[in-house]
Amino acid sequence: MSDMVLKVADYKADLKPIWCAGCGDYGVITPFYQALAEIQAQPKDTVIVSGIGCSGRFPYFCNTYGFHGVHGRAVPTAAGVKIARPDLLVIAVGGDGDGLGIGGGHLPHVARKNVDLTYILIDNSIYGLTKGQSSPTSPLGMKSKTAPYAYVEDPVNPLLMLLAYGASFVARGYSGKPKELKEMFVAALKHKGFSVLHIFSPCVSMNREVTAKTMSEIVKPLPADWDKSNRLRGMEIALDTATFWTGVVYQERRETMDERLAAMEQRVGRYKDLHELFAHYK
């Protein structure tokens, strides 16, 4: 397998995606396949972990190892895979409810651990699989089945959060810009450390307010000379809610969890056998 050149089709599972016709997620998975082919990821060495929601179905459509866990826990599950097996290419994927609602508490910790995995956060500002309830990114005033008289809460700002948490690679993308997404995926997968892509992907069935049309009015790529090393500037564009800036917002090379663990283990040394440890208790 390893000496063969893998093509885009080699990453597609026999099972075809079953998202609604016109779902933004098709615009996410296609460039993802392309990126896997570009970096020549070995299916045998690749694990995709997902949470619950429409985007949780992602790994079923990929010809790699896949793990579809419980709601909100894709990131810590993937962290377990990667810390245990640094030799594997590990990807986590989930939606805004999964990653920012029920599982939102895990993000700062995987970011500060800088676990070398890529997290694809696919945001549609709605709970789609359960047919239309408000999500942590639903805008104030948006109607949903759980906000029939309009939402009275403010949304979270995922980009600002991820920059503040110290993720070592933060990108923002839009499913309507697959070419740009492919480049972002390649950069994220190659990045050493925790890389996260916040991708807006409109829900055509359940979200009538944040749509491809409203998004196309505010999506704008970052300037070509954008300084990826300036986190403070990244926070400024995150706070600019009138424009949905896309591109790699921030990137730094920081020691990863597995690099630090390996160095620590080198430093503390090894026991010869269990009897050396028993001796402390004699």
């Binding site: 397998m1 099972l15 299916p43 045998k44 060495d45 690749t46 694990v47 972990v49 790994p59 079923y60 010809n63 790699t64 190892y65 896949g66 793990f67 579809h68 866990g69 419980v70 826990r73 810590p76 599950t77 993937a78 962290a79 377990g80 895979v81 990667k82 810390i83 245990a84 097996r85 030799d87 594997l88 508490g105 895990h106 700062p108 910790h109 663990l261 620590m264 283990e265 503390v268 040394g269 090894r270 026991y271 269990l274 009897h275 440890l277 028993f278 208790y281 004699k282």
Partner: protein, 576 residues
């Protein structure tokens, strides 16, 4: 010659060195050739409140805590006030007259003034070494040569420099000298065996050592009393065996990461306590559904809710067996002593790996914080249990990760090792791992997962690994589980000594799946069954009643402290 026992309790202010006094004393007494059973209680606060260390030494087996003590060493007044009634009628109170005010509850019991603070000040210039003076006094009481104590001071404090070492040694020697002059008639004619190959460990340490012996190589964790020492131990020692112990942000992330690592081929164990197990319950189901091996050691504490974090209770059994949504096969075990904590941890990991399911090993705060000397484990020939993986050359075409087999166990490919990528999911799935909600498939796959438990149950019967004593003439029997083993066994010995009647005793370690054949055989000749448990509702009795339609006599204790042999002796004797 009958075996000899001496029980000493030391009580004082938390933070005054009561526990370190007990630890040094324990190690010295074991090196001096006696068997010990040492228990401690401590307040939840780091400092303040009453701390207690009880050391029982014997030249026979020291299987349980004792209720009454031969010597109470009261370092402050609260200790005297709280424990004075536990002194045997022929026992002794050692007390510091500077801080303890005696009252009439002491009765005619013997009392000896033991000026710990004055001796400490005289020898070291401060009162701080009074716990070491107490070590010296009690070394004498146990008949352990003072050199065993002073040698330990060098081992414990050697790095802190000569001044500290010499002050502590001086304090121990002064205490020993004081005791020689005042306590010479307290010593017992112990038969000592100082040259044994033994280690002195707590239940938590035995679990952690067992995990390393079981070749566990990934330990995610989150601190929770009283399980934290297991995790701390593994954080310290596992890297030196090439494994990872990693702290996560909560128990949910802990178990999720553990399942991820297990999916990636690692042998995974985590230790928690009731509230943590509650948080793990959804992810525990995921392990059952995806058939990822994982071992959870649940060190039970008093509940519900935050409950009694530093006290013991056997109250998580029902939750462990039943406490999740849906029906997810898992194995529930309980360790019955310190040595057993080591071996049952190895066995739990073996079962998890072989049967590809979660195993919950129940211990409790009493086991966790009891220390005993145990033989240094010999792992020669011990089966650690390997996961079934696909044979080399297995083709991708037609491979079924969740193949229905006779045993229920199917081969699990490991990412990066086997070129057999598959989907592992918490959704109901067919044999290949693809989601499938048809009635026939759900029935087939539920049966496949539960078949592993049936296979396990069958093999357990074959091994008959239960702790038992079953005289033919017995009409009354006791079934216990977990840490009550020692107290029950001693209570039954006391009953036999007293009445000549032998009571049968069964103490299964695998609680679920229930070893039905074995329990039926045990129940067969009995007129009466007694089930003692350290909980309010009789959780295991409930399980036995439901399975066998029997009506046992239930003895419940939900006090946060373990049964003593004396209590069980009285309660069981009443039923004869």
């Amino acid at each position: 010659m009958a075996t000899q026992d001496l029980v000493v309790r030391i009580g004082g202010e938390g933070g005054e060195g009561i526990i370190s006094c007990g630890e040094i004393l324990s190690k010295a007494v074991v090196r001096g050739g006696l068997n010990i059973h040492a228990f401690r209680t401590f307040p939840a606060e780091i400092r303040g409140g009453l701390a207690m260390f009880q050391l029982r030494a014997s030249d026979g087996e020291a299987r349980s805590l004792k209720q009454s003590v031969d010597i109470l060493c009261a370092v402050n007044h609260i200790a005297y006030h709280t424990y004075v009634q536990n002194i045997k009628s022929d026992g002794v109170l050692l007390y510091d007259p500077a801080v303890v005010n005696l009252d009439d509850r002491l009765g005619s019991r013997r009392r000896i003034e033991m000026p710990l603070e004055a001796i400490s000040t005289e020898v070291t210039g401060s009162t701080r070494a009074k716990n070491m003076v107490a070590v010296g006094v009690l070394l004498y009481a146990f008949g352990t040569p003072v050199e065993y104590g002073t040698e330990l001071i060098r081992e414990f404090f050697g790095r802190k420099g000569d001044e500290i070492v010499n002050k502590n040694i001086g304090a121990i020697q002064a205490g020993y000298k004081f005791a020689a002059a005042n306590l010479h008639d307290i010593q017992k004619p112990f038969q000592r065996q100082p040259d044994r190959d033994q280690i002195l460990v707590t239940g938590n340490e035995a679990v952690a050592l067992g995990a390393i012996a079981a070749k566990v190589d990934f330990v995610p964790g989150y601190p929770i009393t009283p399980a934290t020492p297991v995790f701390e131990f593994l954080c310290r020692e596992l890297p030196k065996f090439g494994g990872h112990a990693v702290q996560f942000e909560d128990e949910i992330a802990t178990l999720a990461a553990g399942i991820g690592a297990s999916f990636a081929g690692k042998r995974v164990l985590t230790a928690t306590s009731g509230p943590g197990l509650s948080l793990m319950s959804e992810t525990l189901n995921l392990a059952s559904m995806t058939e990822c091996p994982i071992t959870i050691v649940n060190v039970m504490r008093g509940g519900p809710s935050t409950g009694l974090p530093t006290k013991t209770e056997q109250s998580d059994l029902k939750f462990a067996i039943y406490g999740t949504s849906g029906e997810s096969p898992r194995c529930i075990m309980a360790a019955l002593g310190i040595y057993d904590c080591f071996w049952q941890t190895i066995r739990a990991v073996r079962i998890a790996e072989k049967y590809q399911l979660p195993v919950i090993l129940l211990t409790d705060q009493a086991l966790a914080y009891t220390s005993q000397n145990i033989p240094t484990p010999d792992l020669t020939g011990v089966e650690l249990g390997e996961r079934l993986v696909p044979p080399p050359g297995t083709p991708r075409e037609g491979f079924r990760r969740y193949e229905v087999t006779d045993t229920g166990i199917s081969a699990m490919p490991i990412p990066g090792i086997h070129d057999l990528p598959y989907m592992s999911t918490g959704l109901e799935h067919n044999e290949t791992g693809a989601p499938n909600y048809t009635p026939a498939n759900h029935e087939l796959m539920t049966d496949k997962r539960f078949r592993k438990l049936k296979t396990l149950g069958r093999r357990v019967v074959q091994q008959a690994k239960v702790e038992e004593f079953e005289p033919e003439e017995a009409e009354v029997g006791v079934i216990g589980w977990g840490s009550t083993y020692g107290a029950i066994a001693e209570a039954l010995d006391m009953i036999e000594e007293d009445t000549g009647l032998r009571v049968a005793h069964l103490h299964p370690r695998i609680l679920s799946p229930l070893n039905e054949w074995r329990i039926r055989q045990f129940l067969g000749p009995l007129r009466k069954l007694i089930v003692p448990e350290e909980n309010y509702t009789g959780q295991y009795a409930h399980f036995l009643k439901a399975k066998f339609g029997i009506k046992p006599i239930e003895i419940h204790k939900a006090h946060g402290v373990p049964f003593t042999a004396e209590e069980l002796y009285a309660a069981i004797k009443e039923e004869l």
